[in-house]
C-alpha cells in the first residue's frame, strides 16, 4: 500500500486522467437536495425554473438526501431545525458538498444579534464549502456559487483532500479588496 500511496501522491498519468474523468462526471451532475427553508428557497426555485434553468449544468433537485451530493442550505436555520439539518447531511453519501445560500445560513444574517432561536451560521453544525452572500442572493449569485463548487470538485482528486484543494484555490484566488480598489481607481 505504501508504494501505491506514493505513486498516487506523485500524480502520474494514470491517476490524473482517471481524476479528470471522475471529476468531469461529478461536476457535471451535481444533484442538490431540494431543501428549501426560507426566502432563499424561492430564489432557488426561480433558479431551477425556466429563466435560469439549472439543468444546463446538470443540476436537478432530488428529494432524498441519499441521492444527492450537494446540499443547498437555502434560508434561515433555526435551533429546532439544526438537528434535522445535521441528520440530513449525515444521510448524504460521500463525497458531499454544502453550499450555504444567503446571509442567514452564512452567519445568522439579519437575525444574528437578537434572534434567540436562529442558528448563527450553518457552519456551526455542518462543514460548509461555499458561501453565497445576498439576502436573498440573486439567481446569478447562486449559479456563481454552484460554479465555485464545480471549481472545487475539479481541484480534488485521488489523494488530494478537500483541504488541499481549498488551499490551492485560495492561492489562485484574488483578494476582493484589491479588486474593489482597482474598480475604485478605474471609476475615479
Amino acid at each position: 500500500m505504501g508504494l501505491l500511496d506514493a505513486r498516487i501522491s506523485n500524480r502520474n498519468v494514470l491517476v490524473t486522467s482517471v481524476d479528470n474523468v471522475m471529476n468531469w462526471a461529478r461536476l457535471s451532475s451535481l444533484w442538490p437536495m431540494g431543501f428549501g427553508l426560507a426566502c432563499c428557497a424561492i430564489e432557488m426555485m426561480a433558479t431551477n425554473a425556466s429563466n435560469y434553468d439549472l439543468e444546463r449544468f446538470g443540476i436537478f433537485p432530488r428529494s432524498s438526501p441519499r441521492q444527492s451530493d450537494l446540499m443547498i442550505v437555502a434560508g434561515t436555520v433555526t435551533m429546532k431545525m439544526a438537528e434535522k439539518v445535521v441528520t440530513l447531511y449525515e444521510q448524504m453519501p460521500e463525497p458531499r458538498y454544502v453550499l450555504s445560500m444567503g446571509s442567514c445560513s452564512n452567519c445568522g444574517g439579519p437575525y444574528w444579534n437578537h434572534g434567540y432561536h436562529v442558528l448563527k451560521g450553518v457552519d456551526r453544525v455542518i462543514p460548509v464549502d461555499v458561501y453565497v452572500p445576498g439576502c436573498p442572493p440573486r439567481p446569478e449569485a447562486l449559479i456563481g456559487g454552484l460554479l465555485k463548487i464545480q471549481e472545487l470538485v475539479r481541484m480534488e482528486g485521488i489523494g488530494v483532500s478537500r483541504q488541499e484543494a481549498l488551499k490551492k484555490l485560495a492561492e489562485k484566488s484574488v483578494d476582493p479588496q484589491q479588486v474593489i480598489g482597482q474598480a475604485r481607481k478605474a471609476t475615479a
Binding site: M79, A82, C107, G108, Y116
Partner: protein, 166 residues
C-alpha cells in the same frame, strides 16, 4: 367621535349591561377601542356571550396577542374581535393576569382561532390558559428554557450542545 368608534361603544354598552362590574370602562380611542375584563374568571362567559348574542355576533377573532406589562407586574392578552356577515362593529378586549403563575381562562372552544394563538402566547410569555385542550409550546422547541418575549428574557447559552448567541 368617528362612526366606527361609536359602533364599538354601542357594542360595549350591551356587554356592560349584561356583565356590569366584571368589565372595565370602555376606552374609546380612535385607533383601537377596547375594554378590559376586570374579573378574569368571567372571561370565558363574556366571550361566549359576545359570540352568541344576536346583537353582537362577534364570530371572528382577528388576533390574540400576548403582552408583557412589566411595570404592573402583569401579563395579558389583547383580542381583536369583529363580526363577519353580521354587524360591522369591532372591539378589542384585554385580559390580564399575574406575571408569575398567572392564568387566564381559555376561549379556544369559543373561537378556534384562539387555540394556536393561546399556545403562542404561552410559548412567548408563560401565562397558562385554563381549560386549553392542547397546552404545549408551539414555536419554540419543547425543551426551550424561558419565555422569549418577556422583557427580562435572557437567552440561554447552549441548546443541545449548540451555542446560541452569536
Amino acid at each position: 367621535m368617528p362612526a366606527a368608534v361609536q359602533q364599538s361603544k354601542a357594542a360595549y354598552d350591551i356587554i356592560r349591561e349584561r356583565f356590569g362590574e366584571a368589565v372595565s370602562e370602555c376606552d374609546a380611542n380612535p385607533t383601537m377601542p377596547f375594554f378590559e375584563v376586570a374579573d378574569t374568571s368571567k372571561w370565558a362567559d363574556i366571550a361566549l356571550f359576545m359570540r352568541d348574542d344576536s346583537r353582537l355576533k362577534f364570530n371572528y377573532m382577528a388576533c390574540l396577542s400576548g403582552v408583557d406589562y412589566m411595570e404592573q407586574g402583569q401579563l395579558g392578552i389583547v383580542c381583536n374581535l369583529e363580526s363577519i356577515g353580521g354587524p360591522t362593529h369591532k372591539i378589542a378586549v384585554k385580559v390580564k393576569c399575574a406575571r408569575d403563575g398567572g392564568s387566564i381562562p381559555s376561549v379556544s372552544c369559543v373561537w378556534h382561532t384562539a387555540n394556536w394563538h393561546e399556545r403562542e402566547a404561552y410559548d412567548m410569555y408563560g401565562m397558562t390558559f385554563e381549560g386549553h385542550p392542547d397546552h404545549r409550546r408551539i414555536l419554540c422547541p419543547e425543551d426551550w428554557t424561558g419565555f422569549p418575549l418577556r422583557k427580562d428574557y435572557q437567552v440561554q447559552e447552549t441548546y443541545h450542545g449548540i451555542k446560541v448567541p452569536y
